[in-house]
Symmetry: C2
């Protein structure tokens, strides 16, 4: 039997990160590769108790029956109220629950992207979004970005012309850890309104702000132009697969139709467990501990980088989130470092798959949240030593591109 795949599927490949994660499952590996939250950050006891309440409540059978595509009404209300904190008024009808926010990316691609449509993305950007959108065959345009994220001033007519939508992670971006400053958010919102541009604001990390210095969302600044994606993965549990997308009702209605065809609805059980968990303020009690844990590990990694990295290596100090982005000296291929590191039981993700177009091969992403401080120190020391050896002993092989 000769299987013929559709054109859109032929080019699809497994996520580089997920393939790397398989290599790093051995417990002796110090892995900075995964984008996973720390297991010790899960409010296991609260979720267990919430689950018990759902199963023992009057409404248990409804949790097990088919349900509306839009999602569990009390949870939609809770999300709308929480987002309204930013000063924008969100109606529950603007909220669609999704099977992780990854599904929201897929639904948005399905709803908006025709083959050849120009989709603007940050440089680099979240590879799961590239994966989701790529199936709908867009033309990705990589936007000029710097240490503060994408630069609205660099968005000239040539870049914007005919652009359908702009995908951005304004808070503690994956993979760079960058946060977009307020002035740039305002400029981007104004630009979107002026040009009728759709902003796809992906915000899984916004609650992981170490200092509690919350910035307004693009949803709040340009509500008519923004599809805002949120998730319970980084604040409660990713295994629940619970995310949401918020936007104008006419777009949400279309996404609901597409979600019907995609999975009918997201599990009623997980929606109710999460609602039972959060309705009485669990996040307010729980998140400060998560932020503190992540801030401590971030600090440990920044210290270790400063101590162990050879000259010419650069990185950014994140104000929240889970990632540090590292730039190696020009011409050094991070995938060669990866091969040597994995042989010595240290893992990370080379930067290349995060680029929609021309990749900068001398970049890599370090995730610090799942590794304790001692192992962070040990892992970064090993990486630094390996990199030092590569730079000194074998410049020809590591800077292959320039030799």
């Amino acid at each position: 039997m000769q299987w013929r795949f559709a054109r859109r599927a032929e080019g699809s490949v497994s996520s580089a990160v997920r393939e790397i994660l398989k290599v790093t499952e051995r417990s002796e590996v110090i892995s900075f590769a995964g984008g996973l939250p720390a297991v010790e950050s899960f409010p296991l006891e609260a979720l267990r108790e919430a689950s018990r309440r759902v199963f023992e409540g009057d409404d248990a059978e409804s949790a097990l029956q088919y349900a509306t595509t839009e999602g569990y009404a009390p949870l939609r209300q809770w999300i709308a109220a929480r987002l309204s904190r930013d000063g924008v008024s969100i109606d529950p009808r603007q909220v669609l629950l999704t099977t992780g926010s990854q599904q929201a990316l897929d639904l948005i691609g399905k709803a908006l992207i025709d083959p050849g449509d120009r989709v603007l993305v940050e440089t680099p950007t979240y590879l799961g979004a590239l994966q989701a959108f790529r199936l709908y065959e867009p033309d990705f345009v990589s936007l000029p970005s710097d240490d503060q994220g994408l630069d609205p001033e660099a968005l000239n007519a040539a870049l914007l012309d005919g652009a359908k939508c702009l995908y951005t992670i304004p808070n503690f971006q994956n993979p760079t850890g960058r946060r977009l400053p307020l002035a740039r958010r305002q400029a981007l919102a104004a630009l979107a309104e002026q040009r009728g541009l759709t902003l796809i604001e992906d915000d899984p990390y916004g609650e992981l702000d170490y200092q509690g210095a919350h910035l307004p969302s693009l949803l709040a600044l340009a509500p008519r132009n923004t599809l805002h994606l949120g998730s319970f993965s980084k604040v409660l549990s990713p295994g629940m697969r619970l995310g949401y997308v918020v936007g104008p009702v006419e777009v949400i209605d279309k996404l609901v139709q597409l979600k019907q065809a995609s999975d009918l609805h997201t599990a009623g059980l997980t929606q109710r467990i999460v609602f039972e968990a959060v309705k009485d303020g669990l996040l307010e009690r729980h998140l400060p501990q998560v932020r503190k844990l992540y801030a401590r590990r971030c600090e440990a990694m920044l210290d270790a980088l400063a101590r162990h990295m050879p000259q010419g290596v650069h990185w950014h100090r994140p104000e929240g989130g889970m990632f540090i982005w590292v730039e190696l000296p020009a011409g050094v291929d991070a995938s060669l470092l990866f091969e040597r590191a994995i042989a010595e039981d240290v893992a990370f993700v080379p930067g290349a798959p995060f680029y929609a177009n021309q990749a900068e091969l001398n970049t890599l992403r370090l995730a610090f949240v799942t590794v304790d401080e001692l192992r962070i120190e040990a892992g970064i020391a090993r990486l630094g030593a390996l990199l030092g050896e590569m730079l000194e002993a074998e410049p020809a092989s590591v800077v292959g591109l320039e030799v």
Copy 2:
């Protein structure tokens, strides 16, 4: 802000059934409309206990963390072993867990269907499959079908030429309740192997056989050509959103890549709860009760139809599943009957949305499993009386097509 949707999404509409279900939510409505299993068939106590074991087990944190796209390994093994009962040997690597089997339909459409590809379907067929596939812009070909399901002898070269895949529900089909006889299964399997045709075998109702007369699956008869879809929705709980697709490893690998982009993976919590529930033989204890309940309600509806339907109305006696398909006298539009019925608090689904191409408007689907016997009798009596009135008093308006 002017939203421009992608071409594939522009034509999408909400499922007719889901829209009808919204109308029928009032408790005074006797609804034969939903494709929902009976709430009293859910093994609530067993699922509650399974959930407790997952949350209190050593592995609870893994249930809440990100997981592999393929699904929870012990559940993949359990499914592979169960399907191997049919005499075909299934490897767990051939099993992909999905967010309901609706997601498997979406992933298969994504993987296989290019715009304009010929996709063969039964007449009528499951409208959720039409919805899922339609987004990938196929050319649907409606196959000749009779009281025993699709007729392989009628599949001539003109129908088969250039066909990419054939979608079928061989067991107690939605919407007709028909089951494909063994000889037709064998003929279809032989045809598929001979012509390199992909069979998409959707089997949510196979376990709901009232007499326990199990027939071999197409997966068992043509394993190299078949993608087999299964679901826990009708045997445990649809709100869990847990289904699976089984097929050749090379196709499953592609579906895994596409699922990564669609929702990363299905909730680890629901997968473990279902595995905890079924691993010790729950289905063997539980399903006989469900079959008995559904057989009793089916019999009650067949009796009521025989008593109350006017002459010229035909229906099929199902051997399992949840549906009875009714054909009204030629020219009678079931949607007109629907309007009158809903005004008198009885609901069903008119047949039109189940047709990929030319609809037969004088058809309708009755679901009997969620309504108790007294209300079945009352509802069918009301329908019969309404139909009798329509046929006698206003022939011009009800047989509009022929006047």
